[in-house]
């Protein structure tokens, strides 16, 4: 098995004059749960479409489970369960008919798993797809991606429009039925806190570029919020080199540090600003998202 399930080098996509993705270099370790996080329009879906071989790239190389999406997309789709943001089902079909159709593409289709998921999701075989709610469509998408026992699951904004209970069930199903050694999961989302328990690696994307890619643990060590308390009014024009974002109110300034070093940063900040008190705080994944790539 390769060390990386997905590798991209210099990946780029140009639409007319606009570069939706530019010089993207990502490595998704095999067996990881990898979050592709970024605001709308950052290029997440474009990247995923290229990885799945659904969209040709303008520049760069990719290897997905060892295959080249440009020429071996069929091999990829045999091994990767893909749940797109908007599923283009044949609305006129019944659930059974669509399942039969998709099953016919896969010689690894597991009918026992399929029946089990249909029952668990309470999807009636005779129901017409056009009449399904958003939640049921999402479950059907997931079922179709899981039932052929792929090596990797790629989920593009998988829980958009689902209520909190449905979102939880979605995640529980992935953990119960899919995650095991050797299997990789790539999730693109901006529902960041919800997936934070699931992820072990994150890659923040902004305007088609990688802003930061790292293990989740390292991220939380490096990114901290620091409160600076001043004896008098905090200087309004505070300029701190390590600060990604600076907020000032009254006697307090709060800065977000991108490369926090517990041995050096607090002292450096005191020396630089003359603050009388320095308090370090952890950030949630959502806090980090907002300060790192929020518009």
């Amino acid at each position: 098995m390769n060390e990386f399930a997905i590798v991209t080098e210099g990946l780029g996509k140009q639409f007319g004059k606009h570069w939706a993705v530019r010089n993207l270099n990502i490595q998704v370790p095999t067996g990881s749960v990898f979050g592709l996080l970024g605001p709308n329009g950052a290029g997440k879906s474009t990247t995923i479409n290229m990885i799945m071989g659904l969209l040709p790239s303008t520049t760069g190389q990719m290897r997905v489970l060892g295959y080249d999406p440009a020429r071996e997309d069929l091999e990829i789709r045999k091994r990767v369960g893909y749940v797109p943001e908007i599923q283009g089902f044949y609305d006129w079909m019944k659930i059974n008919e669509l399942v039969e159709l998709v099953a016919s593409y896969h010689n690894t289709w597991n009918w026992t798993l399929c029946s089990s998921l249909l029952a668990e999701f309470r999807l009636q075989g005779g129901a017409v797809i056009k009449n399904l709610s958003k939640g049921m469509r999402a479950k059907l998408s997931l079922l179709l991606a899981l039932a052929f026992e792929p090596q990797m699951l790629v989920l593009d904004e998988p829980t958009g429009g689902l209520d909190p209970a449905a979102r939880r069930n979605f995640i529980e199903t992935i953990l119960a039925r899919f995650q095991e050694a050797g299997r990789t999961i790539l999730i693109s989302s901006h529902l960041v806190n919800e997936f934070s328990g699931l992820l072990d690696h994150v890659c923040f994307i902004r305007e088609g570029n990688v802003e930061l890619m790292t293990r989740l643990d390292d991220l939380h060590q490096r990114m901290k919020r620091v409160r600076l308390v001043f004896a008098e009014q905090a200087p309004g024009n505070l300029r701190i080199e390590q600060a990604l974002v600076t907020r000032v109110n009254g006697r307090e300034a709060m800065i977000t540090c991108r490369d926090f070093d517990p041995q050096r940063t607090p002292e450096a900040l005191t020396a630089q600003t003359g603050a009388v008190n320095v308090i370090v705080e952890d950030m949630t994944l959502e806090d980090i998202f907002v300060d790192l790539v929020g518009s």
Partner: protein
Amino acid sequence: MIITVDPSNPKPTYLQIVDSIRRAIATGAVKPGDQLPTIRDVAVQARVNRNTVSRAYLELEHMGLVRSRQGSGSFLTDNEPGLDQKERLKIIKRIADELALEASHYKIPLEQVIAIVRDSAAELNKETEHE
């Protein structure tokens, strides 16, 4: 024992799981000899990466609180936490320093702080008594 994790809590997930289990030990929700839920069950219930649960279980093993038997599962030991008295006191001292700092900032007098700590201990005892 039911393990919950707060996804918006910045505390590392595996530590939240460790804390959840330590709390369960303190309240008697798990007793020595009890089998812990499987890694898979915890992952699904708490909606957390299985590797993270694995890591939490490993941490508990290092602490001497849990023992894994290949093929059978993980069981709560009847050991005291695997730290010597000095290390345990160091941990408590650190929490005490934080408490003293906060009390000073919020101008809460010492006697009141001590009363509050006594109340917390009493509540914990009451929870433990409830079996």
